[in-house]
């Protein structure tokens, strides 16, 4: 099936999510603002107060400048993860939404593209609000920071697609506890969001290097603070593109298998 023929049907899957979301958008925006605001106040200002003597470890930055952009990357991961686990399982099994969609001309590929389009939209709004908060804390350096929005979306697509692929193989929600506990939370804490990888023992540094969140955090931090390293930035971007592409291929394959049984 040619790509141009997939986008219009996928847009209808997107439209369905919009129909539901427009009832709660104000709540979503409110918490989208409140969360980074609270985090930056507590960890950035409060904890940062204990770290004033350690600027060197954070590349000469105030702690809050180090933390804020990293937190945006971590938020992309968390939002994408949440949206791609329980809600997707609901549409596969509990509410059977996909079964209903598949009895129309829509196919599983349209569903995957539509859901990812939706996640992309959600993450773009999350990133935009986040940039407003970062600007309030005077963390954004130049308009280049706006490029963090597409990078956030790309990061989210990687996590979202991988988790849709995972969810499509699950028969109940128990697996999600494991994913949250052993994948998402460790990434959240150890991927260079809260502290530089140099604080970790060497083997863990290598492991953290291999994670997608590290590359997302580095790239987003570079864009927001306008400190992008031209040598490594393309590598970070390439990693994220490959991560998303592999995820999309797996999601497409696994969902088709699941729904065709």
């Amino acid at each position: 099936m040619q790509r141009s023929g997939s986008l219009a049907p996928a847009a209808r899957v997107f439209l369905r999510n919009w129909l539901v979301y427009r009832r709660i958008w104000y709540r979503s925006l409110f918490f989208g603002f409140l969360q980074p605001f609270m985090f930056l106040t507590a960890m950035g200002v409060g904890l940062g107060g204990l770290l004033v003597a350690s600027r060197a470890a954070f590349g000469g930055l105030d702690y809050i400048h180090f933390l804020g952009p990293g937190l945006l990357a971590a938020t992309a991961m968390q939002v994408a993860t949440f949206e791609s686990t329980y809600p997707i399982m609901n549409k596969i099994m509990w509410g059977r939404n996909y079964e209903a969609m598949l009895s129309t001309p829509l196919g599983t590929r349209h569903i995957v593209l539509g859901e990812l389009g939706w996640i992309g939209f959600r993450l773009a709004t999350v990133a935009a609000i986040f940039l407003v908060v970062l600007t309030i804390f005077r963390i954004t350096a130049t308009p280049i920071a706006l490029l963090a929005v597409p990078v956030t979306v790309l990061t989210g697509w990687g996590f979202s697609a991988s988790l849709i692929a995972f969810t499509a193989t699950q028969r109940n929600d128990l697996g999600f506890s494991w994913i949250f506990r052993f994948v998402i939370n460790p990434l959240f804490l150890f991927s260079g969001t809260f502290f530089p990888l140099t604080q970790l023992p060497a083997p863990l540094q290598v492991a953290a290097w291999a994670t997608p969140l590290f590359h997302a955090a580095e790239l987003i931090r570079g864009l927001i603070l306008n400190r992008l390293d031209p040598a490594t930035a393309p590598l970070h971007l390439l990693y994220l593109v490959v991560f998303a592409a592999v995820g999309v291929a797996l999601a497409d394959r696994n969902l088709a298998r699941r729904m065709r049984a």
Partner: protein, 242 residues
């Protein structure tokens, strides 16, 4: 009554406070010189943040078991309808969840104590009292969760207790840094939150501070437990009558 809780899932929940201990305690701790305690002593950041993570884990476990599980059982899980038809049902489910929350808290507390002891982060033999204290904290937050769950109508409503109460407390109750960092009015406000007292109590026990401050923490939490237990019972009875 038998609930099909997933033991392995609950047991693996131990990794959460432990991850935070390693991540924040050591990762950030390596960059923080030391933190001053209420009695003027300076301790390492990991020793400072560890007890707070234990108290927070007790709170999170309790809130999760009560708010989420009871909500889903009351509103969604069709398999429980049979049990729920009898007046015994809801109260038993509620108490059952509370019991689970206590077991969870006990498990997490023991794990944290062992790991912190191994890392040399326990500064006083009084730390052994942190175990009953964690159970007590768990009971208090379970009661609050039980009382709160009956006010929730849809899954989206969870945003409100989690986003407006639980998470702010986790961030601001002296968990990660001393509340002396705040201006005085905010410090006074923090003294009103239950997690602040829970953190203060456990931190006191694990660092060897036992005085009027801890007695006040205990009294606050006891009152908190009584009030919310009363409210929870009343709410459950109402739900039955309706």
């Amino acid at each position: 009554m038998v609930y099909r809780h997933q033991w392995i899932v609950i047991a693996s929940g131990v990794v959460e406070p432990v991850l935070y201990l390693f991540g924040i305690g050591l990762g950030i701790g390596g960059l923080v010189g030391g933190v001053q305690l209420a009695d003027g002593r300076f301790v390492s950041y990991a020793a400072y943040v560890g007890p707070a993570l234990l108290a927070s884990a007790a709170m999170n476990g309790a809130v999760f078991e009560t708010i989420f599980n009871v909500f889903f059982k009351l509103n969604y899980a069709k398999t429980y309808e049979g049990i729920l038809a009898t007046p015994m049902g809801i109260t038993e489910i509620a108490l059952g969840e509370m019991l689970w929350a206590l077991m969870r808290a006990a498990l997490y507390a023991v794990a944290m104590l062992v790991i912190m002891a191994a890392m040399g982060l326990i500064l006083s033999p009084l730390a052994i009292l942190a175990l009953p204290a964690a159970l007590f904290i768990s009971a208090a937050f379970s009661a609050a969760g039980l009382a709160g769950t009956s006010y929730l109508r849809t899954v989206q409503d969870f945003d409100i207790p989690m986003g407006l109460i639980v998470q702010p407390m986790f961030l601001f109750s002296g968990t990660f840094f001393p509340i002396t960092a705040y201006p005085l009015p905010i410090q006074v406000f923090m003294h009103l939150t239950p997690l602040y007292h829970a953190v203060n109590l456990i931190r006191g026990l694990m660092t060897g501070i036992l005085g009027w401050g801890q007695a006040w923490d205990f009294a606050y939490l006891a009152a908190f437990f009584v009030v919310f237990m009363w409210l929870a019972t009343r709410q459950m009875e109402r739900k039955l009558i309706k």
